[in-house]
């Protein structure tokens, strides 16, 4: 460990399927769960760290995201626009199922920035959409009685008038 700077250290992560990922320790810092594991280990972490709740597809996406963001942050001035564009593409490229899986993985690994971004993505889905749309998108079922639903709509009448049904 002595003599090697932090950014050069590589950490190995193992997904559920057994795939190994080599990650720079500077990136690993953003995976707070992993970082906590490293901090808790007295010895050097040489063997792969197992991630029993994370699949290859999700870890790959998360590392993609983190790598790109690190690149943007250390880059030139116009990074903000590029980052926003990358984020938008990133969100669009995923199906609802994939989004769900990614959120679970990001939550488990405690990746703060990505989680915030995913929260906002989910919020964007809910924003300005009809009740039916939100139900369909997230696969949620209506568990209200007709009376309960009517009561809810009446209590918040102002919100339910004039919204486009999509």
């Amino acid at each position: 460990m002595s003599g090697i700077s932090d950014t050069e250290r590589m950490i190995t992560l193992k997904t559920v399927e057994g795939t190994l990922f080599d990650v720079k320790s500077s990136i690993a810092k953003d995976l707070k769960t992993v970082q906590a594991f490293i901090d808790d280990s007295d010895d050097d972490v040489t063997s792969p760290i197992p991630l029993p709740n994370v699949f290859t597809r999700e870890l790959s996406r998360i590392l993609d995201y983190l790598n790109n963001h690190h690149r943007f942050r250390s880059g030139i001035e116009k990074a903000d626009e590029e980052m926003a564009r990358y984020d938008a593409e990133f969100a669009k490229s995923m199906s609802h199922e994939e989004l769900k899986a990614l959120i679970l993985a990001a939550n488990y690994l405690n990746v703060k920035d990505l989680l915030e971004f995913l929260n906002q993505t989910v919020a964007d889905v809910i924003q300005n959409k009809s009740v039916e749309f939100v139900r369909n998108f997230f696969g949620i079922e209506n568990d209200y009685t007709p009376e309960e639903e009517e009561k809810l709509r009446n209590e918040n009448e102002w919100a339910f008038n004039g919204v486009e049904q999509d």
Partner: protein, 436 residues
């Protein structure tokens, strides 16, 4: 006692078996016919007429009870399904809910019980967004939602915004006629009261301003009935305010700025877009000095569509040490001379964004001097400059000589020196002589 319980167990078992067998009947071919024939046989073999009636009544009763029971069971299962399907834990879900506007929150709550429970958490309401494209929100609703936020209240956005998804930076005040239609609501019945009055911010003032003290952000749009004294009263109980935006309100800017100077010392962003009737107010110089003294942390100042002279603007730009964002678009009397010898240690050197779009009295000469200063290295942080003008620059009194993009404005040279800069120079298409 034991035997009683034992009996109940037996009863339950028995009922379960009967129900199970009954439900298994649904596998029968021609179920409807079979059941009908079966019931007929029972009726015919009844001892009396009333017994037969009784039988049929029971069929109705059991039928409707079974229907209700099945629906209830379905709903319970739907609830379980929802809690398994939704990927986010409660704390993250509530966080997501806090990011959507209040209207969307109501829709979310109406999708299922899981969401409704989370939508009751005060944290969802810490950033209240009650902006609507047409008047829909009244004082009572504002009070209810603020009450739901309670101690988590951090920001409040309120009013009529024609396209509610516009970012606040580009929001324009509604034209006068439309606003007046909305504010003359006296013909509407009580039930239809869907307008905000001057009292809509009262919940913030209550209890010595307990809730106002928590507020960091306040944005108000096109609230026809809001007046200066009500707004000032609220500002006086909002010492933590960081971000204030006022668009299309019939209030006196001087009054508001004085209140901000006196009460909101932490403020970082101040945006004001005058209603069309507010154009004639003249800010006095003391107001500007007090604002500078009272709000040292201001980084973004936007005063659109006001009347202000250069020497007062200069006081503001030189005075706010941290100023990065300045927007005086659509303002009158401002010629641009305030920019002379700025952008260096004299003041204004942190400026990143400057918008002077559609300032009617902006002089071509002053803009040219600004551009030259930029080429020389002043305003080194400036990345966005908007000097567009829908009537062109120059002397308005002499239309024929209104210059469009003339040769004294070194636009190209600026872009050569600072290729990353966004320079907006939209002028109307040229009809008279134009220098190449």
């Amino acid at each position: 006692m034991d035997s009683l319980l034992h009996n109940n167990d037996n009863d339950d078992n028995h009922l379960d078996h009967v129900l199970h067998d009954f439900l298994a009947l649904s596998d029968l071919p021609s179920l409807s016919l079979s059941l009908s024939l079966s019931l007929d046989r029972l009726v015919h073999s009844s001892a009396s007429f009333s017994e037969a009636d009784h039988l049929v009544d029971r069929a109705f009763t059991m039928g409707s009870i079974l229907l209700e029971v099945a629906k209830h069971s379905y709903r319970n299962r739907a609830s379980v399904h929802n809690s398994l399907t939704w990927p986010l834990p409660p704390d993250l879900s509530i966080k997501v809910f806090s990011l959507v506007d209040t209207s969307s929150l109501c829709h979310a709550a109406a999708t299922c019980k899981l969401f409704r429970n989370w939508a009751k958490d005060p944290f969802c309401y810490s950033h209240i967004d009650l902006r609507t494209p047409v008047p829909k929100v009244n004082d009572a609703l504002v009070a209810t939602i603020i009450h739901r936020a309670g101690k988590t209240l951090r920001s409040l956005m309120l009013g009529v915004v024609p396209d509610a998804t516009t970012s606040s930076g580009s929001c324009q005040p509604l034209s006068d006629t439309r606003r007046n239609c909305y504010s003359c609501g006296y013909k509407r019945s009580q039930k239809d009261s869907c307008h905000l009055t001057r009292c809509c911010l009262n919940p913030l003032n209550a209890d010595g301003g307990a809730l106002g003290a928590l507020l960091r952000k306040l944005h108000l749009y096109n609230i026809g009935q809001m007046d200066s004294s009500s707004l000032v009263e609220t500002l006086s109980v909002c010492p933590s305010l960081l971000d204030l935006e006022i668009v299309g309100l019939d209030v006196e800017l001087g009054c508001i700025l004085s209140s901000v100077s006196a009460n909101c010392h932490l403020i970082e962003r101040l945006a004001f877009a005058a209603s069309t009737t507010g154009r004639n107010e003249i800010l006095n110089i003391q107001t500007c000095s007090h604002l500078v003294a009272g709000c040292p942390h201001l980084t973004a100042l936007s005063l659109r569509g006001i009347r202000i002279h250069d020497y007062k603007v200069r006081i503001l730009v030189k005075g706010f040490q941290k100023l990065k964002y300045l927007d005086f678009s659509r303002s009158v009397s401002i010629t641009g001379s305030f920019l002379r010898n700025l952008g260096n240690s004299n003041g204004g050197n942190f400026l990143e964004f400057l918008n002077l779009r559609d300032c009617m009295h902006l002089k071509e000469m002053e803009v040219a001097k600004l551009l030259t200063a930029i080429i020389a290295g002043n305003f080194k942080s400036l990345v966005h400059l908007d000097i567009s003008n829908r009537e062109g620059l120059g002397l308005r009194t002499d239309r024929q000589h209104t210059c469009y993009i003339s040769s004294i404005m070194p636009v190209k040279e600026v872009l050569d020196t600072r290729p990353w800069m966004r320079l907006m120079v939209d002028y109307p298409s040229d009809r008279s002589n134009r220098d190449p």
